[in-house]
Amino acid sequence: MASKVQVSARLEEKSPGLPYAAFILGWLVPGLGHVLTRHWIRAALLFASITSMFTLGIMMQGKLYQANVGDVLEMLGFAGDLGGGALYILSRVMDLGHGAVQVATADYGTKFIVVAGLLNVISAVDAHNLRIGRKPAC
């Protein structure tokens, strides 16, 4: 049975360079963390899924939350949106995501954007786990 010291030593061997590089890159661009771990198909699928979800949310006139210290739900919405990484930053720079209260499905768009951000965080954590060897690479 491998001791804790042996396991941590094995994890360090499998993570050359910056240990959090896969997490940071995966957060910035969906799937880029998996590119770093050479999982090309997973990277492509994650990029397509998360980017499509975020883009559809914007196209449905969903709302992009901004940094705030007011309502708790607004703060949580911002945290979720921020998970989108560069997608969120780019959309804010392009002045998108103002939301349309008169459109019934615009609220779905808002949820699509938040969930895309949260899924991106899950994907970035997965890339980090693959990078450090916590998750076996198949």
Partner: protein, 59 residues
């Protein structure tokens, strides 16, 4: 502007979320596909079941 129906939104949501869940929550490709399909069926199935439940409550 994109205006999708409620059910189309459910199908899109289920598809994208299931792809990410499948890839991140399982280790080998076969298990990923199986888990992704399971998640998709659960997302859509529960929505349909809840919709019928609400229809009966309204009656």
């Amino acid at each position: 502007m994109l205006a999708v129906s409620h059910f189309s939104a459910v199908l899109l949501f289920a598809t994208f979320a299931s792809v990410v869940f499948g890839i991140t929550q399982r280790t080998n490709p076969k298990a990923m596909v199986k888990y992704g399909l399971y998640c998709w069926a659960m997302f859509v199935g529960i929505v349909i079941a809840a919709s019928w439940l609400m229809w009966f409550i309204r009656r």
